[in-house]
């Protein structure tokens, strides 16, 4: 995969390519932007381009260096991912031990730190010195969805490359490649994917998500008894974090649409296909209700990312939504 195959990140890629062309590549980068827009892919392609034997500012995908990186056995290109939930200081220490060694075969040593927002406080601090003055011919790439979760001292040391969500037109084009004969669905999926290619592809592949959505949105409109709430929470607690995140986002979008409808707008709805149902619902909530619910959902999302009892968090969320306590 070379730079031209990465969709919608022209600005970021142009920047990187220009730096390679003028050999002003920095030693530390932070790639930031929502999940699923191509940060990791770009980082890997960047690593390939930096080491490519044939091309200077892109990867050729043919030379041995590019192929080795693709198969993850290039000795100079490494990726650090969280162990369990976080990147620990042992991992950053071993990075610092190994990064000072000479290059084995490539032109640049590239270390990619995925999910840099999951660095523990100790680990993040232990990176500061190396981020400030990385060894020669070394490129450290931190990848993180949001800047707010990183230390200001880290942000200040990194050249920040922003990755933007794709425009709806770009997303629709990508989806259309996979589902050419279904314009209705393309439109719906593009809105649900919120500019994230990764999410769009998943929506195409996994039919279950859309069915799930029907069920969830259906349940939002209904009056619920206490037992049902507990059953629902128990069911959801068995999902993995990624699925849960998606469910919460769906709920969030639902109430966001209600908010906009209440203001009298009826364009820019995310759940456009459900406009009728939304209109029926909108009188049930006051603005304050919606604000509280949105905040509850977001807070629950935040809790779920840290180590809480998922079931309890979900039960609490549902109770709050159903009884507005």
């Amino acid at each position: 995969m070379s730079f031209k195959d990465i969709k919608g990140q022209e600005q970021a890629i142009k920047l990187l390519q220009k730096e390679m062309a003028t050999s002003s590549v920095s030693g530390t980068y932070l790639f930031t932007g929502p999940a699923g827009v191509g940060k990791s892919l770009t980082a890997l392609t960047f690593a390939k381009a930096l080491n490519c034997e044939e091309s200077k500012i892109d990867s050729c995908d043919r030379c041995s260096s590019c192929r080795k990186i693709d198969h993850q056995n290039h000795p100079d290109v490494r990726t650090i991912t969280p162990e369990k939930d976080s990147i620990k200081i042992e991992q950053t220490r071993s990075l610092k031990r190994e990064i000072i060694y000479k290059l084995y075969e490539g032109r640049k040593k590239v270390w990619i730190i995925e999910k840099a927002d999951s660095l523990t406080l100790e680990a993040a601090n232990s990176l500061l010195k190396i981020l400030e003055e990385p060894p020669a011919e070394t490129v450290l790439i931190l990848i993180s969805p949001a800047q707010g979760k990183l230390l200001p001292t880290i942000l200040s040391r990194c050249r920040i490359i922003r990755f933007l969500p794709l425009s709806s037109k770009e997303i629709e084009e990508i989806i259309a490649e996979h589902l050419p004969q279904n314009p209705e669905k393309i439109h719906l999926l593009a809105r649900l994917a919120r500019g994230k290619v990764g999410e769009a592809l998943r929506l195409i592949k996994e039919e279950g998500i859309l069915e799930n959505r029907e069920e969830i949105l259906d349940s939002l409109g209904k009056e619920r008894k206490i037992e049902e709430i507990f059953n629902l929470a128990a069911k959801w607690a068995s999902y993995n974090k990624e699925e849960l995140e998606r469910i919460l986002d769906m709920m969030l979008f639902w109430f966001r649409d209600l908010l906009i409808l209440k203001q009298g707008g009826d364009r820019w709805l995310i759940n456009e296909d459900k406009t009728g149902e939304l209109k029926k619902q909108k009188e049930k909530y006051s603005f304050l209700d919606i604000k509280q619910i949105i905040e509850t959902i977001e807070r629950t999302g935040y809790y779920l990312k840290s180590n809480v009892n998922q079931r309890l968090a979900l039960e609490a969320m549902w109770l709050k939504i159903a009884y507005s306590v």
């Binding site: 600005q11 920047l15 220009k18 730096e19 003028t22 050999s23 002003s24 590549v25 920095s26 200081i89 220490r93 610092k96 100790e122 601090n125 232990s126 990176l127 500061l128 010195k129 190396i130 400030e132 020669a136 011919e137 969805p145 949001a146 800047q147 707010g148 979760k149 200001p152 001292t153 200040s156 040391r157 990194c158 050249r159 920040i160 922003r162 969500p165 919120r194 995140e245 919460l248 986002d249 969030l252 979008f253 966001r256 908010l259 906009i260 203001q263 009298g264 707008g265 820019w268 006051s286 603005f287 304050l288 209700d289 604000k291 905040e295 977001e298 999302g301 935040y302 009884y323 306590v325």
Partner: protein
């Protein structure tokens, strides 16, 4: 030559080059020329203000062949070695990676050897806030009375994480935030020497956007160089950082004043689609409101944009503006952890437009309505200004009426009974709304008796009573009573378990009586029961 980022290439090498920290530079230089060199320094301040750079220059100043001198030559072996960080006598330690007690013990061991070729052995411990507690404590003794040739320099962004015993042993220097004007001056120097083509507005924007950190400014300048085609313009910087131009802030505020959240939501969606950073939107808008506040108070100086802001001064009151800034701060915190900043911003737009009329929010909030009503009530009473004389009249009248009281009381009681019986289910419902469990407990009580100003409720057991008389629950119940009954009314609780017990005893004794002789005695002694014959 190997490419180096500007922040490293232009790292100050002399005291004179350090930007915005004159108070520190002067003290240090004087101390060196007077020979009053402390054995431990603590440099604190936010990122990018020059802590590490100053530490290195100080090390050079101490160890320069001509030194100790306030202006290191940067030419002698010692200076050169320090600049290449190869000196054996200047050890720069990363406190965040070498944070344990073992590392500090090792440092103490080595500190006993005198310097190899320079006059001082300088330990620079950067990010010192990450040392563990035992490690800090291991440092205390050597820090208090180090060998004469040792100088410690600690640098950190978080001085509050250090032990007070450490801080008290160091000469402390607080690095100030660097004002945008000084950053700008330094950027001019760099731009000139590096022959970077950039216009003045763009450079100013970078200096302001750096938020008082020199490193951040140099970093952005670096990026702008590779981003722009030809001369760097304002638009390049704006695009690169995802900033928001003033005209959009003006528009957002205008829509807000016209109470048109939808227009703002549309604008926000457009801005985000264009790649603006939600954080910038909030940060810049906060600055906008800050300027409005200052103008409103009649201040004229330290404004960033007087011309643009001025037409909007009359739109809002001061309190509203303060409220807006608070709302923006809250949203900023939320966005830092949110997966959908767009939704947060949209919510914010609606909230901000509502900032004018708090009561329209509360139409569905019974509590708020209640409070609002009370305020109106009080206001009415205050404005009607019933005079003392009138009050007196009222009181004497009341006294006259006392004669009727007995009869009245009786009638009143019946009224109250009925009123209470009528309202009781409503009261329970109200309580249930506020605390589900308490409502359920109240439903489980049985009404036994109603007196003049109280009702007695029967309870099943002591636990039940404990719950109902718990402080918070009592408060809830009383509030609900007050809300529905126009007179004061109390609830009493009585355990009705006794009856059950007696009944059971009766049962038992009756069952006992069937048995005689040994069996009866055994039953009696063991308080047993016959299970099977």
């Amino acid at each position: 030559m190997v490419y180096q980022v500007l922040a490293r290439k232009w790292r100050p090498q002399l005291f004179e080059e350090i930007v915005g920290q004159d108070h520190i530079v002067r003290t240090l230089r004087n101390a060196i020329s007077l020979g009053r060199i402390a054995h431990a320094y603590l440099f604190t301040g936010m990122r990018g203000t020059g802590k590490t750079s100053t530490a290195r220059i100080l090390a050079k100043a101490l160890n320069c062949k001509k030194g100790p001198t306030p202006s290191p030559c940067n030419g002698c072996d010692n200076c050169k070695e320090i600049m290449r960080s190869e000196s054996l006598d200047v050890l720069e330690i990363d406190g965040a990676s070498n944070r344990g007690i073992d590392e500090i013990r090792e440092l103490r061991e080595k500190a006993r050897f005198s310097p190899v070729k320079a006059k001082f052995k300088v330990y620079i411990i950067d990010e010192v806030h990450m040392l563990t507690n035992p490690a800090f404590n291991a440092l205390l003794k050597i820090l208090e009375e180090p060998p004469s040739y040792i100088v410690f320099i600690f640098a950190t962004t978080d001085p509050h994480k250090l032990l007070p015993t450490i801080v008290s042993r160091c000469q402390r220097f607080d690095f100030r935030k660097i004002p945008a004007s000084k950053i700008l001056a330094r950027l001019y120097q760099i731009v000139e020497k590096e022959e970077i083509r950039i216009n003045k507005e763009a450079l100013t924007l970078i200096a302001e956007g750096a938020e008082n950190s020199m490193r951040d400014a140099e970093k952005v300048l670096d990026q702008a160089v590779s981003y722009a085609e030809g001369e760097i313009t304002e638009a390049d910087v704006v695009n690169l950082l995802g900033m928001v131009e003033k005209k959009y802030l003006f528009q957002l505020t205008q829509n807000m004043a016209q109470k048109n959240p939808l227009a703002n939501i549309k604008l926000i969606n457009q801005l985000l689609e264009e790649g603006r950073d939600p954080n910038w939107v909030i940060k810049e808008w906060q600055r906008w409101f800050r300027d409005l506040i200052i103008l409103k108070m009649g201040g004229d100086d330290f404004l960033s944009e007087k011309k643009e802001v001025e037409p909007q001064v009359s739109f809002f009151t001061l309190t509203q503006l303060v409220h807006f800034i608070n709302l923006l701060s809250a949203a900023k915190r939320k966005i830092a952890f949110s997966s959908q900043p767009q939704v947060d911003l949209e919510l914010l737009m609606v909230e901000l437009s509502f900032g004018f009329e708090a009561d329209s929010l509360s139409l569905k909030e019974p509590e708020l309505v209640g409070i609002y009503q009370k305020i109106l009530d009080l206001e009415k009473r205050l404005t009607s200004e019933s005079s003392f004389a009138e009050k007196k009249k009222k009181i004497s009248q009341e006294k006259k009426e006392k004669g009727y009281e007995d009869e009245q009381q009786k009638a009143e009681k019946i009224d109250k009974d009925n009123e209470f019986l009528k309202k009781w289910p409503l009261i329970i419902k109200e309580i249930e709304k506020r605390k589900k469990t308490l409502g359920i407990w109240l439903q489980k009580t049985s009404l036994i008796n109603i007196e003049k100003n109280s009702a007695t409720l029967g309870l099943k057991n002591g636990f039940h009573k404990e719950i109902l008389t718990e402080k918070n629950n009592l408060r809830l119940i009383n509030e609900a009573l007050k809300k529905f009954l126009p007179f004061s009314f109390a609830l009493k609780y009585v355990l009705i378990k006794e009856e059950d017990k007696e009944e059971r005893k009766l049962e038992k004794s009756s069952s006992k009586s069937k048995w005689t002789g040994m069996v009866a005695k055994a039953i009696d002694i063991f308080e047993g029961e016959i299970v099977r014959r």
